[in-house]
Symmetry: D2
Subunit: 342 residues, 4 copies
C-alpha cells in the first residue's frame, strides 16, 4: 500500500545506508568521539555559516527537546510554547518529567504571535506575585510547526528581538527543518535560523535518517558538561558513529537540502491533487504535510488506496487527515492518489 | 495599620496558642504519632461524617498539593485544573517539579465548568495520538476558588459523576474551606465534600492556624507508604504535634466553623462598605475575599488607611485589589475602612 | 513518663511561645517579608560574625537539605556524604527525589575523614570514564554527626581546604548545632563554621523551636531566585513570621546558646549516670545524644522508668539505645533515671 | 589500528545491515507498531521459552535501566545494586534523575553475594526507623557483570528466591548477555534467566546491533501504559523499525548466539595470549572482556600495536586495562596482538 501517513514511514535515504556499510568495520571510539561525528559537526557549522557553533547529536525529537530545554533552563524557569507545540501536547509530559513547566500561549496557525509573546512577558513582570510563578526562561517554537506552517523571517526577527530584550534563549525545533527551508513559500534560510535563534535542531529522523537530530548551539552557549547531562537523561548513544555517519552523509553535497527539495516538489503536486479532488484544507500549509478534512465515509474510501494519518478530531463529523510527502515519495505514489476515484 | 491584605496576616487563633502552651511540656513521639494528632484525626473524621476517612497533616498548601497530586497520579498521568487554579499559576511549578503536567482547562469565574471537563475527556480519548499525550489522571478544583467563588452542590455532583465515570479522583483544594462552608450563599456542607470528592484538604494556615493543612482521603485511597512519600518530599514535620494540636483545637467545639462564620460575617459587612463606596467589583465573591478594581490614584489613597493586596493586573489603568477578612478581622477594622474618606 | 527518647519530644522553649503570643495580632506580610524575620536574620549574621551572610528560614531538616543541595548542585553533580549521613540514610531518598545522587564515603565515627575525601576526589578525576559518572559537586557533613560526634577545628579546616581546592562548596547540617557548639569537648565556634563552610544551617526544631531551621549562605552564594526554588519545592511558609519570630527569640540574649548549654550540662550528668550504671557505650559522644548497647531484657526494664529510642540494630542480641537531653531536660528527669534500679 | 578497546567499536553485523537495506523502502507504521518488531518479539519469546513474556525495544543500556527501574519501582522504593554496578557508577546518575536511590551493597567480583542481599533485607526490616529510609524495591544485577564475571545458576536461584520471598523483582542487565550465555564456563541458559528474573534485557548494542536493547518482562508484569512512560522519558523511537528489524535478524537462525559464540572463541584465544605474555590478570573473567594490570610504560608499548581501554585505576603505578573481543574480532586481529613484541 502506498503510504502518505507521515514522513517517517521508510527507512533511510540509500546514501546513508551506503555510508553505514562502507564504514562498518572501521573501529571507532564510542560516544560521539569518532572522526565522522567531528566531520559532520564541521559540515553543519559550515552550512549554518557559523564556525563557532557547537553541534551535538541526539537520537530523537522528544529526547532532544527534553535535553535541550532542561539543561538550558534555570531551576525557577519554564519554557514558553504555543498551545499546539509538540512539547505541550505530544511528548507525554517529557518536559514536565524534567521538572519544568511548559507555559502555553494560544497558538495562531501553529505559531506564536510575537505580539502575544511580548504581552505575556510584560504581563508576567508586572504581576506582583510573579515570585510565586514560573519564570519564562526560554521560548520554544517549531519550524515547520506541527500543522506545517512556517514563520517568516520578519516574525523570527521579532521573536528573536523580544527574547534578546528579555535575555532568554529562543529555541527552534526543526524536526522537519529541511522541508521548511526548501519550501518555495519561505524567506528563511539556515543561516537566518543560526543567526536568529540561540539553539535549534536539524531533524534527521523525518528527513532521511534512520534516527537522529543535530542540535546547534549558536551563541557559545552549550551547557557545561553537556555530555554528562545527556548521559544522565539516558540519551547518550554508545555507538555515536550511527548518528555521526548519517549526518556526515546528509551534509555532504547538500544531500539534506536536495532530498528536502524533492519532498517539497512532491508536496506541490500533492497539493494540486487535493485541489483537483475538491477536498477541503484544514490549514494552508507551505510544507510537506497537508492537512485536509474528511468524514468517516471519505476516509474509508481513501483508505482503500493509500495510508494516511488521523491527525486530530475536527468536529463531530469530520477528522483532520494528514497526507505527507518525504524524501522517499515518488511520482508513482502520487499517481496512485491521483487515480483514486474519490 | 489595619490590614485587609489577606487572611494570613495574623498569627493563630488564641485558643490554638493556649493549646500549644498547655501541652508544651508533655513529651510526645514525633512525626505525627502523638495522641493529639490521633484525636484531631478522629474529630475531623467525625466532622466529615466519614468514619473510614484517612486524615494526614502537612505544613502548607503548595506542599500539600504537590504531595497529594504526585502520590496519587500514575507515571503517565497529569492533573486537570482550571487555568486560574493555584497549582497552574501560583506554585512556582511545584507540580511539574514532581514530574507531572498540569492540564489546564479555561476557567469560568475561577471554576471548572463540568461541561468543559466532559468535553476535555471525550476529546482526549477520541484522539488517535493520545498514547503520546499526558493522560488526565485527576481533577483539581479549589473551593473557594482563587477569586473567591464557590461550586454549587449540583456542580460538585456533576464533576464527581464525570470523575467517577472516567475513574479518576476528584481533588478539592480547601485552603480557605471554612470560609466557603460558612458562606451564606452555599448549599455545600463538609459532609457533601467528603462524599463527593476522593481527596481534599481542610486549610488551616488561612483559617486560624499558625500553619498546617489536613488532607482527607475519603475512599480508602490513601497512597501506600504515605509517610515515606511525605518524608521523601521533605514535608514530614519532626514535631508533628505542632499540626496535631492545632487541628485538635480547631475541631473542638466547632472552633473551625465558628471562626470561619465570624470571618464571613465580617465579609458581609465588608461587601456593604464596598457597595456604599461605589467601588467596582471584579467578580461577585460569596466568600471572605473581595476583589475590586482600582486605579493607582485610588490605591494610593486607600493605602493611607488600610493595607490591601495587588491581586493582579486588570487593564492598563486598573489593578485588581483584594480585601480579605479572616478570623481576626474586627468591627473596629471595618470601621477604619468605612471611615476612610474615599 | 520521663522521656530521653530524643531532643524533639517537647514543644518549644517558653520564651518562644511568649514571643508568638506577644506578636500574635500584629498584621505582618507573608513569606518571610516581615520585620521579625529581618531582625532574626540580622541577629544570626551578627552571631556568625559575618555581616554579608544571607540567612533563610525553612521548616525542617530534610526539607532544608533537599532545598540547599538541589539548588546549589549543577545538573551533572552529586553530593558527597558519609555513608552514615542523614541525607544518605534517613531522608527517604529526598535528595535523589531532586534528581541528584548522594555519593557515599565510608564513615568514621559518623564523620568524613579528610584523607578519605581527598582520595575520593583524586581518584574521581584520574578515572578515564569520569565523564560517565556523577561529578562530586558538594560535600555534606553533619555537626554534631548522627551518632553525636564532632569535627575538630583542624578537621573542618582540612575539609574546607580540600573543598576550596576542588572548588566545591562545603555544607554543614547543623540540626543539633547548638549542642555541638556548647560541648565542652569542642574547639569549634559558630564563627569558625561561618568561616569554614560555604553554607550551613542552624537547627531550630531540635534546639527549642516548634519547627524551623536557619540556612546561612556564607560566601555571597545564595542561589538566584532562591524564594522561587523554595516555593517550587513546597517549602515556602505562608506565615513566614512563625519561623522569623522563633529565631528572633532564639538569637536574642544568647537564648540559643544558653539552652544548648543547659542541655549539655544535663548530658554531662547523663553520661555520669550511664557510667555509674556500667552500661556499655556504643560510641564516645561529646554531645547531647548518648548511644549505649542494651539487650531486650535491659530495654524492657529501662522502659519501665523512661522512654528511649531504639537507634539501630547492633548485633543479634543487642540494640543501640539512644538517650538524649535537650533544652527541656531537668534534674528531676535525670533523677528518675538515676534512681531506676538497673 | 586493530582495536580491542571495547565490544562496540564496529558498526553492525553485516546480516543486520542487509536486513535494513532489504526492508528500507517498505512503508511501516512508527513507534514499534510494525510487523518486524512483532516478529522480533515473537522470536525472542520463543528463544526465552516463555510465550507469555512481554518484549519491548529501547535504544541503549542506560536508557533501558532508567526506564525499567523507574517504571517498576514504587515512589518509596530504591533499587539494590552491587557497589560496582553500572547503574551505581557509570550512568551519570540516570537512576537518581528519575527520583530513585540506588542502594549499594559491597560487590564481590562484580556480583551481589546472595548472603549479603539477605542480610541487607533482614537488617532493613528490623530497623525501627525504616519508615524514614528508602525501601528496597528491586534488585539489579548485571550478567555478565561490569568486570566480566558471571553468576552461576545456583547463585541466580538464590537471588531469585530471596527476591521472591521479599516480593521484589529481580532485574538483570544483559548489556553483554550473549557473551555470558556462550561462555564455556556457565551453566546458565536464556531460559534460566527468563525463569529466574522478573525482568531483564538482551543487549544489542554490544552484541552486533547498531543500537538497541530488548527488554523482557517475564511475569506478566509490564508496567501499565508502558509506551507512554517510554515516551515521557524521551526513549520512544519514531522509526521503531530500526530496533525491530535488527532484533528480528539477531534472533533468526540463532544469529545472536552464533556471533556471541564467535566472540567467546576469540576471547579464549585472547586469554591464551595474555597468559603466554605473562601479563597479570586483574580478575578471572569467563567472558569477552579481559582485564589486566599494566603500568604506563607497558601501556605505551601496547598502544603501538592495538587500541585498548583504560578501565580504571588499580594503584599508584598500575592501571586496569581492558581488552575485549566481539562479534567482529578476527583471528588476524588476535595475531597482531600475539605478534606484538611485549
Amino acid at each position: 500500500m502506498v503510504s502518505f501517513e507521515c514522513d517517517y514511514i521508510a527507512g533511510a535515504h540509500p546514501a546513508i545506508l551506503r555510508s553505514l556499510i562502507e564504514t562498518n568495520y572501521e573501529p571507532l571510539p564510542g560516544y560521539g568521539m569518532d572522526h565522522y561525528t567531528e566531520s559532520a559537526k564541521a559540515k553543519i557549522r559550515k552550512a549554518c555559516g557559523l564556525e563557532t557553533a557547537d553541534v551535538e547529536f541526539i537520537t530523537g525529537g522528544t529526547q532532544t527537546n527534553a535535553v535541550v530545554i532542561s539543561t538550558m533552563l534555570h531551576d525557577w524557569e519554564g519554557v514558553i510554547a504555543a498551545s499546539s507545540g509538540h512539547v505541550n501536547v505530544h511528548e507525554s509530559g517529557a518536559i514536565e518529567y524534567t521538572g519544568h513547566k511548559v507555559l502555553s500561549i494560544p497558538e495562531k496557525n501553529g505559531k506564536i504571535d510575537p505580539e502575544d509573546l511580548r504581552n505575556y512577558l510584560v504581563r508576567f513582570y508586572s504581576d506582583a506575585t510573579h515570585e510565586h510563578m514560573v519564570f519564562p526562561g526560554m521560548v520554544y517554537i517549531s519550524h515547520p510547526t506541527e500543522p506545517g506552517t512556517l514563520y517568516s523571517k520578519r516574525e523570527l526577527e521579532e521573536l528573536s528581538g523580544i527574547c534578546h530584550e528579555y535575555n532568554i534563549p529562543l529555541y527552534l525545533d526543526g524536526a522537519r527543518l529541511g522541508y521548511g527551508l526548501m519550501s518555495k513559500d519561505t524567506d528563511v534560510t539556515l543561516e537566518d535560523i543560526a543567526r536568529l535563534t540561540d539553539v535549534f535542531y536539524i531533524g534527521g529522523t523525518k528527513v532521511g535518517a534512520l534516527l537522529g537530530e543535530a542540535v546547534v548551539f549558536t551563541k557559545n552557549n552549550k551547557p557545561a558538561h553537556f555530555m554528562n547531562s545527556v548521559k544522565k537523561r539516558g540519551a547518550l548513544l554508545a555507538k555515536g558513529r550511527v548518528l555521526g555517519i548519517q549526518f556526515d552523509t546528509l551534509f555532504t553535497d547538500d544531500l539534506y537540502f536536495r532530498i528536502s527539495k524533492h519532498a517539497m516538489d512532491m508536496a506541490g503536486k500533492l497539493k494540486e491533487i487535493i485541489i483537483s479532488k475538491g477536498w477541503e484544507f484544514y490549514i494552508d500549509s507551505p510544507t510537506n504535510q497537508q492537512l485536509i478534512l474528511m468524514n468517516e465515509e471519505q476516509m474509508a474510501e481513501l483508505g482503500k488506496y493509500v495510508t494516511f494519518d488521523r491527525w486530530g478530531v475536527y468536529d463531530e463529523e469530520r477528522t483532520i487527515v494528514r497526507l505527507a510527502t518525504s524524501w522517499s515519495t515518488s511520482d508513482d505514489d502520487l499517481q496512485v492518489l491521483r487515480d483514486a476515484p474519490l
